[in-house]
C-alpha cells in the first residue's frame, strides 16, 4: 500500500474572490491547486508541505471557452486540456493550441489537468524535484550544472545559476499566438502578455511565472491576430506519451503566394521560459517558404546556445525543428 500525502486543510471556494482571500490569509502555507497533477507529486514526496490547499476546481466562472468581441477567444484557466484540444473553435482557428494540448502527458492527465495549470507548472529538473537544496529551492548550489550532473534535459540558453527548462507544451503555443494572461490578485486584475508571464532565474530563481502569492490566473485570451494561420507544432520526447519535451516548437506563419508575410515562432525546453525566436522571425519575414530559408533560419535559431555536458544534442534538434516548421 502506498503512503498518503501529509495532512492539510482543504478549502473549496466557489468564486475567485474567496479563493484569493483564502490564499492571502494562508500566506506562505497556502497552495492553490487546479487539476493538481503537478501539486500532488510535491505533496506525496513531502517536499512541499502546505497547511492550506485551496482547490480552485469548484470555481465554475473560470472554466470554459468563449469567443471575444475582438474576434479572439478567452479560455478559462480551469478548462481541461482535453476540452482545449477538442474545442471546435480552437481546432478551426488556433489548431496550434489544440495540437499542443493533445500532446501533453497522457489522456487521463489531460482529462484532469488544466490549461492554467499546464502553463503555471513548476520546473521538472530532477535534482530540484527530489528535494535537494538547489538554488531554485532556496539553497546555494546547482546539482545539474556540474561535470557529473545529469543535465541531458536542461537548458541551452538563459542559464543563471539554475539550468532548468520550461516543461510546458501549451506555453510555447500560447507564446506563439501572443496570448494574454488574466491574473487576479489581492490588488485587483492585471493582464500580462504570455511573453512576460514566464520568468527566468535571472528575474526570480524560485518561480517560473509572474504569479505572486495570492494571485490566481483566471483566463487566457488569444487575440485574433494568428487565427487561421499556417501552424506547426512538434514535440520531441523520449517517450511518445506522458513524457515532457526534450525540445518542442510552435510556429504560426502567414504565407501568401509562397512568401512568408509574417511569422511567430517559439521553442520550448531550451530555456527556463518559452524562447521566442525573434532572430528567426526577422530573417524569414519576406522570404520564400522553402528549404533555403529554412536552413538559414535553423542556423540563426541556435545562435548563442551554450550546451551543458550532456545536452549538445538539443542544438541540432532545435535547428531541425525550426527547419521543419518553416519549410512546412
Amino acid at each position: 500500500m502506498k503512503d498518503m500525502m501529509p495532512s492539510f486543510n482543504l478549502v473549496q471556494p466557489i468564486d475567485v474572490k474567496s479563493a484569493i482571500n483564502l490564499l492571502t490569509e494562508a500566506g506562505a502555507g497556502g497552495w492553490a491547486i487546479a487539476g493538481g497533477q503537478d501539486s500532488f507529486d510535491w505533496f506525496k514526496d513531502r517536499i512541499k508541505r502546505p497547511h492550506t490547499v485551496v482547490d480552485l476546481s469548484g470555481i465554475d466562472s473560470i472554466k470554459g471557452i468563449r469567443e471575444t468581441d475582438d474576434g479572439g477567444i478567452e479560455i478559462g484557466a480551469l478548462t481541461t486540456l482535453t476540452d482545449v484540444e477538442q474545442n471546435p473553435i480552437i481546432k478551426e482557428k488556433y489548431g496550434l493550441l489544440s495540437t499542443a494540448s493533445g500532446r501533453v502527458a497522457s489522456p487521463q492527465i489531460r482529462n484532469k489537468g488544466t490549461l492554467g495549470g499546464n502553463v503555471s507548472q513548476d520546473a521538472r529538473c530532477w535534482y530540484y524535484r527530489s528535494g535537494l537544496d538547489c538554488y531554485r529551492a532556496g539553497g546555494n548550489t546547482c546539482y545539474a550544472d556540474t561535470p557529473e550532473g545529469m543535465n541531458r534535459e536542461h537548458c541551452l540558453f538563459g542559464a543563471s545559476r539554475c539550468v532548468a527548462v520550461t516543461p510546458s507544451d501549451t506555453a510555447v503555443a500560447l507564446t506563439t499566438l501572443e496570448a494574454n494572461m488574466v491574473i487576479v490578485g489581492p490588488n485587483g486584475e492585471r493582464i500580462v502578455p504570455a511573453s512576460e508571464y514566464f520568468i527566468g532565474p535571472a528575474i526570480d530563481i524560485e518561480r517560473m511565472t509572474v504569479l505572486e502569492p495570492g494571485d490566481v490566473l483566471i483566463a487566457i485570451r488569444i487575440p485574433a491576430k494568428w487565427s487561421g494561420a499556417k501552424f506547426y507544432f512538434e514535440k520531441v520526447a523520449d517517450r511518445a506519451t506522458w513524457d515532457f519535451p526534450l525540445v518542442n516548437i510552435a510556429s504560426a506563419m502567414k504565407v501568401s503566394e509562397g512568401i512568408i508575410e509574417d511569422i511567430s515562432i517559439t521553442c520550448g525546453a531550451v530555456e527556463c521560459v518559452p524562447k521566442r525566436l525573434t532572430v528567426v522571425q526577422d530573417i524569414v519575414r519576406g522570404s520564400a517558404a522553402n528549404e533555403e530559408t529554412a536552413s538559414l533560419a535553423a542556423g540563426a535559431a541556435s545562435r548563442g546556445a551554450s550546451a551543458l555536458n550532456y545536452n549538445h544534442f538539443k542544438i541540432p534538434l532545435m535547428e531541425n525543428l525550426v527547419k521543419r516548421a518553416i519549410r512546412g
Binding site: 500500500m1 502506498k2 478549502v11 490569509e25 500532488f40 507529486d41 497547511h51 482547490d55 492527465i109
Partner: protein
C-alpha cells in the same frame, strides 16, 4: 470520537449539498468503516488537530456516487480517490501502481471521462459519478464485451494493469463505438503494461468494438 471529526462544523465555503441527516450519515460511515477496516489502514494521515479556525477545512463526512450507488464515507482532506476506493469502499479492483499519475493502473471514469484516481482528491469528485472496473459489467456479474475480448485475446499476463486498461477501453467505446486501431492506441496511451501485452489489449478493444 468527537475529536476525530474536528472539522465537523458548518462550513460556509463547502459546496456540500447532501440532504441526508447527519445522524444517518454517521451511521452509514461507521458501517462502511467496519467493512473496510479503514481505521487500521490510515497511515501517515493523522488529523491536523492544530488547524486554525480561520480556514475551515472541508466536511469529512461525504457521499460519493460510485458505480451507481451513493456511498457515505469519511474522507480526509488529503485523501486520494484511489485510497478511498480501495481502503474505505473495498473496491480493490482499482490498482495503485506508481501513485504518481504515470502508469494508469488506477484509472477510473468520472462522468464518463478517464482519470488517474491516485491523482485526484476524493473531495473534488463529490458531485461526479465514479465508475470503477467493478462497475463496467452487467448487474449479475456479466463481463463487459471489452473484458470478454481481453480474455479471448489473452491480453492480461500478470494482470496488474488490466483494470486500468479495461476502464480506458470501455470509456473509449462509450464515446466512440467504432474506433480505428490508431484511436484505440491513443486511448490506451496512458496505461502502461509491464508485461508488454499492448498489442493484445489493442486487439481486444478493436474486437470488442461494435459489440459493446
Amino acid at each position: 470520537m468527537q475529536k476525530k471529526f474536528n472539522s465537523d462544523r458548518y462550513d460556509p465555503l463547502s459546496t456540500e449539498r447532501d440532504s441526508l441527516s447527519r445522524r444517518h450519515f454517521i451511521k452509514g460511515v461507521i458501517a462502511a468503516g467496519t467493512v473496510a477496516g479503514a481505521a487500521g489502514l490510515m497511515t501517515g494521515c493523522s488529523d491536523n488537530s492544530n488547524n486554525s479556525a480561520s480556514s475551515a477545512s472541508v466536511e469529512r463526512l461525504v457521499t460519493i456516487n460510485v458505480n451507481g450507488r451513493s456511498r457515505p464515507v469519511d474522507v480526509m482532506p488529503n485523501e486520494t480517490l484511489a485510497h478511498t476506493l480501495r481502503n474505505k469502499l473495498s473496491l480493490t479492483g482499482t490498482k495503485i501502481g506508481c501513485d504518481r499519475g504515470a502508469c494508469g493502473a488506477c484509472t477510473v471514469m468520472i462522468d464518463g471521462v478517464t482519470q488517474n484516481s491516485c491523482s485526484i482528491l476524493t473531495h473534488t469528485v463529490r458531485k461526479g459519478n465514479v465508475v470503477t472496473v467493478e462497475g463496467v459489467g452487467g448487474v449479475n456479474g456479466q463481463l463487459h464485451p471489452v473484458q470478454t475480448a481481453m480474455i479471448e485475446e489473452l491480453a492480461p499476463q500478470c494482470g496488474f494493469c488490466t483494470p486500468g486498461q479495461v476502464v480506458s477501453g470501455v470509456a473509449l467505446l462509450q464515446r466512440n463505438p467504432n474506433p480505428t486501431r490508431e484511436e484505440v492506441r491513443q486511448a490506451l496511451a496512458g496505461n502502461l503494461c509491464r508485461c508488454g501485452a499492448y498489442n493484445n489489449y489493442i486487439n481486444a478493444i478493436v474486437n470488442a468494438a461494435g459489440s459493446a
